[in-house]
């Protein structure tokens, strides 16, 4: 029994431990994971910026129907098991006796409620069910086999379905029906609901339901959950306390219910201050809002405040990548930007070693925007394509592109006589970005090109890209740089508006051709075709070849000019906290930051107490 609940159990407020666990809990064998079984207790203090960061707990907890393990294999978690026939028929088996955090059973009804009462309700989901639930635009067939078994069936393969359930930001296909029914007019009493709507100051029941049912961002303390910790503080607040879920489904090999850590205390505040607060020992495990720049400062206070600073590797395809906008509105520029020689020239013209040395202490990897060596899909050639520093070749290529005329000061001119100045736009004010651009600017000056950095607010920045006003932007590279072939390779093809190198093509794809522009270049079109192939693929081998081809096209065509990747993320770990990996990959996707390393297995090694 967990000491934290001992009293509640004794007074009968909670059932005993064996009543709380499912019949078949998920047993984690610490030893085999190379970890030490621990003892329960303690509070994990973390520092966050604002209320949106509540979702960090959901990320860090990483309890999903199915999850990726550290080797990026899909394993059942909340599900006891699942069956997948040709990526078309998915059968899920729930754990018998699994309960929500309020002690109510978790059953097929919760899936049904989501599917029938939420996903298919036009008021709650005006645009229909989540895209992950659509294969080729078709809805699945949903069946309840028995209270612990459900099945989704599509006519065509839907290989993205399981990864989307295991994603850091998962697609929720179940909801605590017993709780939410009180907000749904189909089930709730009319007067009762009207009163609730009034008390919450909302317009109608759909708004109320929407608000009460947010699972990803656990703002509602009353919403039952399956996660290891549940929020106990109603917003607005600056200090959120999460408590362990007494019905959590994971146990260690000794049969001890996880998580080890009793509480999470999340303190909100100005993000600039977080490094300083961390250094004064105010957080137990923290990576968010601290940067590589802060490492020295943090390291200096290590002893005094009993913590360790570890360096994890960031999981972006590039810490910063220049993104020439192939859809730029300016016709002259668009023509130049679409010329692969121009993109290669710019890539060759960046002195990545210098940047690495000045800004990253030589610890980053000078690489194009591609997958990281940790990924099974990695090839050295992708990383090295056009990343050697060769200004002479760059100049030669630029002359070929048609930028061979120069003005009095030696700067290149566009064919129409304008100076070939490039305004590189960035979102928000990030000193590292500014510095990178400053250094890149020095390098490009040697190519006869001047660049200007123009940071703007994130959404203004995006809007300008979407409308084609931006010639070139700079942002992080691939979000998921350690994919396996099971992940959808959508980031490598023009498939989303948020891909800054071809956002209008992406929009065209996203909107099914109603907005944006159709792709009118062969290689990107080929990438799209490949993406299509992946979506209809049925075997991992087939997927791997698709991935390989897409990666090599991207590397060869330099659609995005990656500068460095594998940059370091400082992670501050309390001196007494155990089981936190010394070095690992820190990324949102895949991995949910800490989530993949299972923070519910972290514990405090304190002598007494």
């Amino acid at each position: 029994e967990t000491p934290f609940f001992a009293e509640r159990v004794a007074t009968g407020k909670l059932p005993a431990i064996d009543q709380r666990l499912p019949e078949q809990p998920r047993v984690l064998d610490m030893q085999s994971m190379g970890r030490i079984p621990g003892k329960p207790g303690g509070t994990w203090r973390m520092l966050m910026g604002d209320q949106r960061d509540l979702r960090m707990v959901t990320l860090y907890s990483y309890a999903r129907l199915v999850v990726f393990d550290e080797k990026l294999q899909l394993v059942p978690d909340i599900l006891e098991s699942f069956e997948d026939q040709d990526d078309k028929v998915f059968t899920f088996h729930l754990r018998k006796g699994h309960k929500w955090s309020d002690g109510q059973p978790f059953t097929a009804e919760d899936f049904r409620y989501y599917w029938e009462d939420v996903a298919l309700n036009p008021k709650l989901s005006p645009t229909g069910p989540n895209v992950a639930l659509l294969a080729n635009g078709q809805k699945p067939k949903f069946e309840i086999i028995d209270p612990e078994t459900i099945r989704f069936t599509w006519d065509t393969p839907n290989p993205a379905f399981l990864p989307s359930l295991a994603a850091s930001q998962p697609v929720y296909i179940f909801m605590p029906a017993h709780y939410l029914k009180q907000f749904n007019p189909r089930y709730a009493g009319k007067d009762d609901l009207a009163k609730k709507i009034k008390d919450a100051h909302v317009k109608d029941w759909s708004a109320l339901h929407e608000r009460m049912s947010r699972q990803y961002r656990p703002e509602n303390p009353e919403l039952p959950t399956l996660e290891p910790w549940r929020n106990t503080t109603p917003p607005p607040a600056d200090f959120f306390v999460f408590e362990r879920n007494p019905f959590y489904h994971r146990v260690d090999e000794n049969g001890r219910q996880l998580p080890y850590i009793d509480k999470i205390a999340m303190m909100l505040g100005t993000t600039n201050l977080i490094p300083a607060k961390v250094a004064s020992g105010e957080a137990d495990l923290q990576a968010r809002y601290i940067n590589f720049e802060d490492y020295t400062f943090l390291k200096h206070a290590e002893q005094a405040n009993n913590y360790q600073v570890e360096l994890w590797q960031q999981g972006y395809g590039a810490r910063a990548a220049l993104m020439p906008n192939l859809n730029a509105a300016d016709p002259i520029w668009r023509k130049i930007l679409r010329d692969v020689r121009f993109r290669r020239a710019l890539s060759l013209g960046i002195n990545r070693r210098d940047i690495n040395r000045v800004l990253f202490f030589g610890l980053a990897r000078e690489s194009g925007n591609t997958v990281l060596p940790e990924s099974p899909l990695y090839k050295q050639s992708y990383a090295d394509a056009y990343t050697n520093y060769d200004p002479a070749e760059a100049n030669r290529l630029l002359d070929l592109v048609g930028l061979d005329k120069r003005d009095g000061e030696g700067f290149r001119l566009l064919p129409d006589g304008r100076r070939a100045d490039i305004v590189i736009e960035t979102a928000e004010n990030d000193t590292v970005d500014t510095d990178i651009l400053e250094l890149v600017g020095d390098d490009f000056a040697k190519l006869g090109i001047r660049i200007f950095n123009h940071p703007s607010q994130r959404d203004a920045f995006r809007q300008r890209i979407f409308s084609g006003q931006v010639i070139m932007s700079m942002a992080e590279g691939l979000d998921n740089a350690v994919p396996t072939e099971k992940f959808e390779p959508d980031a490598l093809a023009p498939s989303a508006e948020s891909q800054f190198q071809w956002s209008r093509w992406g929009l065209y794809f996203e909107s099914g051709g109603s907005q944006g522009e159709a792709v009118d270049m062969p290689e990107p079109q080929h990438l799209l075709d490949l993406l299509h192939d992946w979506r209809h693929s049925t075997s991992d081998a087939q997927r791997k070849t698709i991935w390989d081809e897409m990666l090599s096209i991207n590397a060869d065509q330099v659609y995005t000019i990656g500068i460095v990747n594998g940059t370091q993320q400082p992670v501050v770990v309390d001196g007494n906290m155990r089981n936190v990996p010394k070095s690992a990959l820190f990324s949102f996707e895949p991995g949910s930051f800490f989530g993949i390393y299972m923070p519910d297995t972290f514990w405090y090694d304190v002598k007494s107490e």
Partner: protein, 331 residues
Amino acid sequence: MLRYLIRRFMIMIPTLFFTSAIIFTVINLSPTDYFSNYVAELQAQGEKADMSRVEFLKREYGFDKPPVERYFLWVGGLLHGDYGYSFEYQLPVKDVVGDRLYLTILVSFSTILFTWLIAFPIGIYSATHQYSWADYGLTTLGLLGLAIPHFLLALLFMYFANVWFGLSIGGLMDPQYLNASMSWGKVRSVLAHVWIPVLIIGTAGTGAMIRTVRANLLEELQKQYVTTARAKGLHPFRILIKYPLRLAMNFFISDIGSILPSVVSGAELVAIVLSLQTTGPLLIHALQTQDMYLAGSFLMFLATLTIVGVLISDIALAFLDPRIRLQGGAR
């Protein structure tokens, strides 16, 4: 007098109306809105926004209506004490602001008190010892407070308060009290923290205040009635208190209206740097995320505070200064 009051009140109404219009325009100036902002933030992190939810929310908050209509909806709400709804917090603005308001008021009033407690004696001393070394020294000290940018000062203070006194960095209280209800421990913790922001916000104000006290007093000190008082044989200190200071006070009373808002907004930057649980960071954040009803109602609140402050100071002045009181606002 009454007539004067009524007139003052009448003038207030169009002022408030215009202010609300300007505030509404100002917060709607930005070409984007909360929702695109929200989507942008999410995508920056690699997350995906559920577009159907966004559409849902947009309709919910009347973003399909023209701005003018939204303005009248908003103002109409304000008149009924409905301050609107925060997108970010998904709560009525009133609930979001909640406790922060009290802390803001605490910080602001402590600051004003601090400023006055320091600035008045120094200003008086400087004025009565014009051109002495002490005058120069104290003025310089006050100016120094004015000259060092707030945020830098805050940073330095915070760092050294942590290094030397082990005070937790930022915030207005130790974390464990944040959600706790009122208790002695909480009060003590707040008091242990509040001095830093008060000192920082106060230093700038103090510098300015010293200078105004000094200037005003110098002017009053030359007046003939001071000599009259001396001719009565009054002690110089009593003279100072009773006559020039009393008249110089008028200046401060007439300034009350702007003191509070200026402290509140002067505190904003500091509050961000120090991560105070006051309204400042909330406001800035709301502005940056285009959480427009939160920002708008809050600004309106501040503006009303100023306008009412000016009104109060006018009334106070009318009560204190017989010339205004008896001559019916001939000002």
